[in-house]
Symmetry: C2
Subunit: 356 residues, 2 copies
Amino acid sequence: MKKYNFNPGPSVLPEITIKNTAEAILNLNGSGLSIMEISHRSKDFEAILKESKDLLKELLNIPSGYSVLFLQGGASLQFAMVASNFLNKKAAYLDSGSWASKAAKEAKLYGEVQVVASSKEQNYTFIPKNYTIPADADYFHITTNNTIYGTELKTDISSPVPLIADASSDILSRPMDVSKYALIYGGAQKNLGPAGVAFAIIRDSMLEKISRPMPTMLNYKTFVENDSLYNTPPCVAIYACLQTLKWLKDLGGLNAIYKMNTDKADMLYNEIDRNKLFMSPLTSSEDRSIMNVVFVFKPEYKALEEKFLEVAKSKGIVGIKGHRSVGGFRASIYNAMSDEGIKTLVQAMKEFESQA
Amino acid sequence: MKKYNFNPGPSVLPEITIKNTAEAILNLNGSGLSIMEISHRSKDFEAILKESKDLLKELLNIPSGYSVLFLQGGASLQFAMVASNFLNKKAAYLDSGSWASKAAKEAKLYGEVQVVASSKEQNYTFIPKNYTIPADADYFHITTNNTIYGTELKTDISSPVPLIADASSDILSRPMDVSKYALIYGGAQKNLGPAGVAFAIIRDSMLEKISRPMPTMLNYKTFVENDSLYNTPPCVAIYACLQTLKWLKDLGGLNAIYKMNTDKADMLYNEIDRNKLFMSPLTSSEDRSIMNVVFVFKPEYKALEEKFLEVAKSKGIVGIKGHRSVGGFRASIYNAMSDEGIKTLVQAMKEFESQA
C-alpha cells in the first residue's frame, strides 16, 4: 500500500531524493565508491558541497555578503551557538512556541534575555503581535514556523536590530527576503533532507560581532573560514539535501513551491473548517502554518480520536497523531507532500464525518 | 575496476553495510518509508537505536554502569564537551598527535591543562612514554590511535584519575577493557559508519562530577537522560552503524577482527621493512598502528612519490596519499579493508621496486 507520510520530521522527501541517495550509497557517480566512504576532502565531495551552497543561494536569492554553512547538532545546538556568538549584553526573543522558548532558555547562559511577547499562556495558539523590539538588543530572535502548534510567521519582518530566525520547519517553503535577516538557521529534516545536518545562512558582517572565547565548534567563524570543512561534515546528509535542492529548482523554485504549498494547505484547512467533526485550535486564522496543519475534534467528538487514527492508517496515512502538547492531529505537509496525500486525508475526513 | 579504499575517513565500510543502508533508504523493513523519512520517535527507529547500543555493549563487553550514546559534531565537538563537563580545576593530556593537541587546546577554555608528555618536537613519530599522571587532575585524556601519524596506544593503561580516550580511529579494532575508562568517545566514520554520528561510552558515575552551567547540547547528561533522543539524532548514520555492528558480530566479534587486523597490518609492515624503496617514519616500531599504516620513500627515492601514486591508482588503490604533515603514504586499513586490498597494495609495492 502506498504510504502518505505526514510525519513532522524526519519527514516526507521527494522520491528523487530517496532514489538518488540510495544510488549514491551504492556507487557515487560511477566511482565504484559509496558516498559513505569517500573523503570529505575529495573533488567529488567538494563539488557536492559547492553545488549545494550555490543552489541554496540561487533558490533563496541570497544577496552577496552572506555565507551558507552546513553544521551538525540540529537547531538545538544552534540555540546555544546564536547566543554564544552574538549575545554580548542583551538579546530579544519572541516566544511563539516550545522551540522558541528553548532557544531563549539556551541564551540565558550568555546574558540578559528579554522576551518581547509570548503566547505561552494561550498554549501558543497564535503568533504574538504588537510588541516592541528593544533598540539596544544585540539581536531579535524569531521562530518562523512553530512545528508543534501549527502557527507560522509568514512575512519577513523589519527589525531595528539584527534579525535571527530559526526556520527549521519552513525554510524553502516560500520566497524570503534574506536581506532582512542577519542569520537564518535550522535543521534539515523537514524541507531539505534527512536528520543529521543543519544549515545556517549568515550575513558575513555578523562575524565581526563575535568576541566571546568559545569552543571552536560553536563559533560560526570556524564554519565560514573553513567552508563547513573544519571537521568531517555529514556527507551523506548533505548529498541528500542537494538532491532536494535540484528537485526544487526543476519544479520552478520557491515561487512555484509556494503556490503549491498554499494550495495544499488551503485544501486541508477548508476541509477542517467545513467538516462538522473537526476544528482548528488556533485563535488566529492568519497564523495558520502552511507546513504543519494542526486540527482537533470538536469537544463533543473527542472520543473518536483513536478511531480516526485507525481509519487514516488503513488508507496509508501515517504520522498525523498530534504532538502531546496539543493533542488531536497534525498533518505536516512539507514541500514534498503530494496533492494526492492531501486529497487522501481530506477524503478520509469526509468519509469519517459521513459515518460518525 | 574494483576499488580498494584506503581513505583515512570517511573510509571503507563493509559491503553489507552499504547494501543494507541503500535498501533502507529506499524502503525500511518493508514499511514503504525511507529511513530518511521516519520519525526518530517511531518504534522502528527505537528498535534500531536499542539494537545499536546493545550490540556495541556486547561487542566491547561493556560492564554495567556505563551508557552508550550517539551524538553529533564528531570528536571535535566532544573535545569541548569533555572539558566543559569534567574539567573543574585541572586536566592532564597526552600529546601524541594533532588531534590530541586539538583536544587539549579546546580544554584550555575551561581550566588548567597539563600536558604530561609530548612527541610534537619529533613530529609525533612515537607515543610518549614514562610520564606521570598527576593525581590531582580531574581526568587524563589520551588519543588511542593517531590517524595522521600512524601511531597507536594499543594497551588499556591504568590511570589514578578518570581515563578519557578519543578512540575515533581504532574503536572496535581490538578488545578493550572498558572498565579502565571513564569515557571513550569518537567519530563513527572509521570503523563504524558514515560521517555524521559520533559515539560516547560513559561511566554513569562521571555524571555526578558535572557542575558547570553549559549549553544543553554539550552536557553528557542530556544524552544519557534522554537516551540520545533529546533532539533528532542522525537516524541514517545510526542505521548504517548498526549494520556494521551486526557484520562484526557475525564475523566473530573483536577477538576475530583483532586477529585479522594484526595479520593485515603485519603483511603491510613486513613489506615496508623488506622493500628497498620504502620505510616507516616512526622511531618506535612498537607504536605502529594497526589501523593507519604510514610509510614514506627512503630519501633517495622521494622523487618517485607521484609515480607510485599513479601506479597505485591504476590498480584501483585509492586514498593512500599521506597527510600533508607527514608526506609519503598512508594506508588506512580499518576493519572493513579486505585481505585482497592489502595484497594488491603489497603487490604494487613489489612491482614498483622491481621496476625502479
